[in-house]
């Protein structure tokens, strides 16, 4: 069978940085071809080349066996090559329906945009993805990350794709949504669509992929049928070494009580939460997307101060009405949205690391740059951040290294309580284990850690206790010894209303 799409000997550099070197890739009709690799391995770049978004310096693209050059994304789309982008390229100010159809709106006979048909067809597509609650007239800026991901997928489905490329489509989705998406992928495959599927989640790969290609440092390490690889062999292909222990959890004796919540609520989002957190403990929070975990964390951290209830730090009631007060109380929060809440891309590593403790680095409100510099170089060493020096802009680092910068920034505040919100989202296996190892170390030093994660294995692997949230409420607290995927999963889903059927909601 001739491949529908073929990349031959592709090389690409951004300025002096070589990102892809002589990569080969082929895609057959009716297959799901997984693409894997560490952060910064060049997956997204390769995809963008195939989609006509970037131009490769060397190599050629063959479509149906014939060489092609794409002048821009529009040409590639004309050939039926459709991409679900990793960074959710949506139009926040426009409606859901319009986001789905922008660039190829249905037209009336007179060549005008047919709004009625556009809304109907958008509705149908969303129903196919099983999200009847998503209103097609809603502005995308008001949607949650998960819903935006759905819109992005609906957009790809709205074009009659021959080649569908999905770059981490499930990064923001929870279990149930992932199931439905995989369903759709299977159906498309059976209709003969060729699919490229990028994900850092192993189980999805094994469930859906027919073949897998692994990139490492911009070089293709190889393409294998899925039956010929195991999780361990994939990991060693990706990182170039074996990883023995994914979750290096150590047992640390529980210290004294650091943080206690008594009936904390944030009107309408988080209701009546009570729990305690001890020194040396890692408390995991599990829950579906939208269950209010981020809101809870941000309430503790003073971003959205609690509307009722009490927060106690070291046994004393603490008023937390702003981020500043939370930091002064010894709380640190590593946010889930790294790009918009964690780092300042345009500023040097040094200034990012010192940002939360600027007031401590000053004499008469003048920043002591000497101390700042040594703080940054220490951080680079301690967290083995791969950066040129402390003056490199954070935006130039890879995702995993950016995450380490955020960690360094917050640990510089010498917190007693560390809240980690999705600490390893979109982080590759290698960096992930490093972050996990670090968490263990910190706990050992007596830090109390609250970790939010949508990856069940991570929650189960790293936590001493697991706190489960559902629809803004606490639904269970499970001890490590009792924490099984089944038990936690059940607490997450329990009593969850079945989404109403399509027509009924309108």
């Amino acid at each position: 069978m001739t491949p529908i799409l073929e990349l031959k000997n592709i090389s690409k550099a951004f300025g002096p940085v070589k990102v892809l070197t002589g990569v080969d890739f082929d895609l057959r009709p009716g297959e799901v071809h997984a693409l894997m690799g560490e952060n910064g391995a060049g997956k997204s770049t390769m995809i963008r080349i195939a989609a006509g978004d970037h131009r490769a310096e060397e190599g050629e693209i063959r479509l149906d066996g014939k060489p092609r050059r794409f002048a821009g994304p529009r040409e590639a789309q004309g050939e039926g090559i459709i991409v679900v982008h990793q960074e959710l390229l949506l139009f926040p100010a426009l409606s859901v329906a319009e986001n789905v159809f922008l660039g190829h709106q249905p037209k009336t006979a007179a060549g005008l945009v047919d709004w009625g048909r556009m809304r109907r067809e958008a509705r149908d597509l969303l129903d196919r993805l099983d999200c009847p609650n998503l209103d097609v007239d809603q502005r995308v800026s008001r949607l949650s990350v998960a819903d935006r991901q759905r819109v992005e997928i609906a957009r790809a489905l709205s074009r009659n794709a021959r080649v569908l490329i999905m770059d981490e489509p499930t990064a923001a989705l929870a279990e149930a949504d992932v199931r439905r998406l995989l369903e759709v992928v299977r159906r498309l495959r059976s209709e003969g669509v060729a699919i490229v599927y990028v994900s850092h989640r192993m189980n999805e790969i094994f469930e859906i992929a027919d073949r897998v290609t692994v990139l490492r440092d911009g070089v293709s390490v190889g393409t294998r049928p899925i039956a010929e690889v195991t999780e361990a062999s994939l990991v060693s292909m990706m990182v170039g070494r074996d990883i023995h222990q994914l979750f290096p959890k150590e047992d640390i004796p529980r210290g004294e009580k650091r943080l206690e919540l008594r009936g904390v609520s944030l009107a309408g989002v988080v209701e009546d939460i009570s729990f305690d957190l001890h020194a040396g403990e890692i408390l995991g929070i599990a829950g579906l997307v939208g269950s209010g975990r981020t809101e809870l964390a941000q309430t503790i951290f003073g971003v959205t101060p609690a509307t009722s209830g009490e927060i106690l730090v070291d046994g004393k009631p603490q008023k937390i009405a702003s981020v500043r007060e939370a930091i002064d109380a010894g709380i640190a929060y590593v946010p889930e949205d790294r790009g918009s809440h964690g780092i300042i891309r345009a500023q040097p590593l040094r200034e990012n690391v010192s940002m939360a403790i600027l007031d401590r680095l000053t004499k008469f409100s003048v920043v002591d740059t000497g101390r700042e510099q040594s703080l940054a170089t220490d951080a680079i060493k301690r967290f083995s951040i791969r950066a040129r020096d402390a003056r490199q802009r954070v935006g130039q680092l890879s995702g995993g290294n950016q995450q380490k910068v955020v960690l360094a920034k917050w640990l510089a505040t010498e917190p007693k309580i560390l809240i980690l919100d999705e600490p390893t989202r979109g982080v590759d296996v290698g960096a992930k284990t490093e972050i996990h190892r670090l968490m263990g170390e910190l706990a050992k030093k007596g830090l109390a850690i609250l970790m939010i994660s949508s990856e069940l294995p991570e929650v189960l692997g790293m936590s001493d206790r697991v706190l489960v949230m559902r629809e803004g409420r606490l639904s269970a607290i499970v001890d490590r010894k009792d924490a099984s995927p089944a038990a936690v999963g059940a607490a997450m889903m329990q009593g969850r209303r079945e989404p109403a059927r399509a027509g009924a909601a309108r």
């Binding site: 989609a51 789309q77 390229l89 100010a93 319009e98 922008l102 660039g103 005008l112 945009v113 007239d137």
Partner: protein
Amino acid sequence: MSRRLTHTLGSLGQEILLVVVILALFAFVGVYNPRFLSENNLTSIFVGNAYIAVAAIGMSLVIISGNIDVSIGALIGVLAVISGLLVTNGYPIWVAWLAPLVVGAAINAVVGCLIAYARVPSIIATLAMLSILSGGLITFTGGQWISGLPAGYQLAQFRLFNVPSPVWFMIGMTILAGFLMRYTTFGRSVYAVGSNPEAARATGISYKATVVKVFAIHGAIGGVAAVLFATQLQVIQSTVPVGLELVIITASVVGGVSILGGVGTVFGSTLAAILFAAIGSSLIFLNVSAYWLRAVQGILILATVLADMARRRRTG
């Protein structure tokens, strides 16, 4: 259905607010002095400011696309003078009417290229254009007014069904532009580019081409405004009204076009332009000392914007 209605009302919030404010103003002043509502006065409110409303349509396009233009006042001055010079130098009247559209489109296409291809931020490119156009205008005309305009040139004095042509232009162009923005792919790509240029590119919409087109259309609309400006009286002034660009931008923004791009309609800016004209006129009718005119305008802009913010917060 009702849900859709709420959405439509929600997205037209600013326009409805403006209609309410305008009606309230007319009612209030009308009660105080019924002459305010005479046909004659209503017409003159519309006629004298139609060119601002027309120019604000183009400005709305520019702002929706995520840019801004502070040179439009100077451009209108230049185009009006070009039109006048053509007609006084013996060119046919229709040439004098059309040339500003073409020249305006050409000049602004160049500005659009600077913004799209050379990546000069629009406020800087147009700030520079403001200097170049306004300085160049004086250098070129030496400050002489253009008089001796031939009969039949005064387009803005024509009437159709006893309604002066500027009103027709204002209404017609608003509807045309509203239609263009809502029902054509080009119109939708202007919103897309303003909302998220990166995403627009990935969707196959050319940022560069869209921005250049938006500026060219804005220039052509500026040409229409210039012709209305030039043909209202028997002479053409060779300077630009001071602060005209701010009035036009304010009309757009108070009309609900978000300065952050991607949001708004052209109906709002036309309504806002009408509102400003009505305020100016009503202060005279209310015998409010003209010294306070600008303070009242300022308070009104602020009130409209704050009301809009409050409304947006309420509807989420």
